[in-house]
């Protein structure tokens, strides 16, 4: 409610701005083709910027409900209190002014692949020649109905999407008594950003160490072991945080009892002062018509990212049915977006897309305010299997947590923003 009012006010301000003030120009009648990008995150905004750089005769509209680009990878540091929410957001202004992307802040109601039109909640529908659906993830509340109830949703945060969730959980952590228990419930893989929950345990532990040292962190993992960088995280937990973090594998959360302050697992209940329950995830609801796997994910052609369900619609980022050992990461979304932008330019010119695309993945996790670890991989196209495969022998993990990579991680945030926005 408040966000929408704020956005409305923002829209009114924009509309009232003098025309000399570089207000976004309407789509030109001269443009060769029009691409509508749904979602302005690591996938969508990066694709929009690169499309305009590669071929300025292609008109691009980016539809994003939020007023600014929220860097989810920074959110765990915000939870720890080591970065401010202001550090985690950046405006879309340069994308509009420098690159001529028309940015529309609205909610997409439907991507109609047949009529080739994107329908908006408030604004007029936008026709497209090609659409890019990059909405990230939504949650499978049917697997955890309590999390969808308003009384629970206002008191138990997933903090896995949107700055309001991060702010809500941070507030609870600040209000928690010293000696309290903070529990993180992790869903079965695949979910977005595999190392994120483990990094979250580190960041909150660093906060507790300084502010409420008698507290405890319970990591309730539905998976049989850590899904990413397990050895490195376990080492960080024991060396940096003593016994503060307790890890429980095969502990799948199925329900939440807010009144009792309990997370219900399959076999037992766990009491916690602050509950961070991350429900299972699926492709963003806006991508529902393009879901082809298990009612959850969207299959794509890896040369173009065109949906297997609808020609003319491309799907990027966390909504995709991943290839073998491919993470749902911001880094991967950035890489996919650039392959997709190149492919769309080729397709609109009547040419074949690159037959040998390469994706690079580099994910950093901050295990303390000053130490980081990474996981990296290089993925290339296998034409026989028609999928992306990791290059054997390439990529890997940090040998140990270190300070240099904490600086690289901070740079990564700035450079991926630049690659998407500037």
């Amino acid at each position: 409610m408040r966000r929408r009012d704020f956005l409305k006010a923002g829209g009114a301000l924009l509309a009232a701005a003098p025309s000399g003030c570089a207000a976004p120009s309407p789509p030109s009648v001269r443009e060769k083709a029009h691409v509508v990008v749904v979602g302005g995150g690591y996938a969508g905004a990066t694709a929009a910027r690169h499309l305009r750089i590669l071929d300025p005769s292609i008109g691009v509209t980016l539809v994003e409900v939020e007023g600014a680009f929220e860097a989810c990878p920074v959110s765990n540091q915000v939870l720890g209190g080591f970065r401010s929410p202001v550090d985690a957001a950046r405006p879309y202004t340069a994308l509009e002014r420098r690159h001529g992307v028309r940015v529309v802040h609205d909610r997409v109601v439907a991507v109609d692949a047949q009529r080739r039109v994107v329908k908006l909640e408030r604004g007029d529908a936008i026709p497209f020649d090609r659409a890019i659906v990059a909405g990230g993830i939504d949650f499978m509340f049917e697997d955890m109905p309590a999390m969808a109830r308003p009384d629970v949703a206002s008191r138990v945060f997933h903090a896995f999407k949107g700055a309001a969730q991060t702010a809500g959980l941070r507030r609870q952590l600040e209000q928690m008594r010293d000696g309290g228990v903070f529990a993180i419930a992790i869903p079965e893989a695949p979910y977005r950003c595999p190392p994120a929950p483990y990094e979250r345990a580190c960041q909150v532990a660093a906060y507790f160490q300084a502010a409420k040292p008698r507290s405890k962190i319970l990591v309730l993992d539905a998976n049989g072991d850590l899904t990413s960088m397990g050895g490195l995280f376990r080492k960080a937990w024991s060396e940096l945080y003593g016994g503060m973090i307790e890890y429980r594998p095969n502990s799948k959360a199925v329900d939440v009892d807010v009144g009792a302050g309990m997370i219900k697992l399959e076999l037992e209940d766990v009491k916690a002062d602050v509950m961070n329950v991350i429900p299972p995830m699926k492709a963003a609801d806006v991508a529902n018509p393009f879901i082809t796997v298990n009612h959850r994910w969207c299959e794509v052609d890896w040369l173009t990212y065109e949906s297997k369900a609808a020609p003319g619609v491309h799907v990027l980022g966390d909504s995709i049915q991943i290839a073998p050992v491919m993470p749902k990461s911001a880094s991967m979304a950035n890489a996919q977006a650039k392959v997709c932008a190149q492919a769309i330019v080729a397709l609109l010119a009547g040419e074949a897309p690159n037959p040998a695309p390469t994706l690079l993945n580099a994910c950093y996790s901050m295990v303390s305010p000053k130490l980081a670890i990474h996981v990296a991989s290089v993925h290339k196209y296998d034409p026989k299997e028609r999928t992306m495969r990791a290059v054997p022998g390439a990529g890997g993990l940090s040998p140990a947590m270190n300070e240099a990579e904490a600086r690289y991680a901070a740079n990564w945030v700035l450079e991926t923003w630049a690659d998407a926005l500037e």
């Binding site: 690169h50 499978m140 049917e142 697997d143 796997v293 298990n294 009612h295 959850r296 073998p324 880094s331 950035n334 890489a335 650039k338 392959v339 190149q342 080729a346 690159n354 037959p355 040998a356 695309p357 390469t358 994706l359 690079l360 580099a362 990474h374 990296a376 991989s377 290089v378 290339k380 196209y381 296998d382 034409p383 026989k384 299997e385 495969r389 990791a390 290059v391 054997p392 022998g393 390439a394 990529g395 890997g396 940090s398 270190n402 240099a404 990579e405 600086r407 690289y408 740079n411 990564w412 700035l414 450079e415 991926t416 630049a418 690659d419 500037e422």
Partner: protein, 124 residues
């Protein structure tokens, strides 16, 4: 509601399909990848080079104050030599020593040439 059994079914199907050829003992393994030959056309190389942006900055020009070296405008030979050392392990690195192994020698030369041709001061 019934997503869980479905999920398992399709996993079995996916593994089954990908393992149609190799021996039964390798049931959870995928066959060795057979990658497409590298695309060394200007567009193909530009595509490869775009991947470097997340650390070295868009166009190979890092943000001010970044400790990560620029690539734009660097002499071709310098970049090729550094990548060769990263690849064979004679030069220490955090990520580069691992990532360099993902590229063929031809791809490395082509990317180095691409970056050296970009002006160091052109917009990012």
């Amino acid at each position: 509601m019934s997503s869980r059994p479905l999920r398992k079914l399709s996993l079995v199907a996916a593994v089954g399909l990908s393992c149609a050829l190799p021996a039964l003992s390798q049931q959870v393994q995928f066959p060795a990848p057979q990658f497409a030959p590298p695309n060394l056309t200007p567009r193909g190389v530009a595509g490869l080079a775009m991947n470097c942006a997340i650390c070295h900055g868009p166009g190979g020009r890092p943000v001010a104050g970044s400790g990560i070296p620029a690539l734009a405008g660097r002499p071709e030979r310098e970049v090729v030599e550094a990548m060769r050392q990263f690849k064979e392990g004679s030069r220490a690195g955090t990520l580069m020593s691992q990532i360099a192994k993902g590229y063929s020698d031809e791809e490395i030369v082509a990317m180095a040439r691409h970056f050296s041709a970009l002006g160091a001061k052109a917009p990012r």
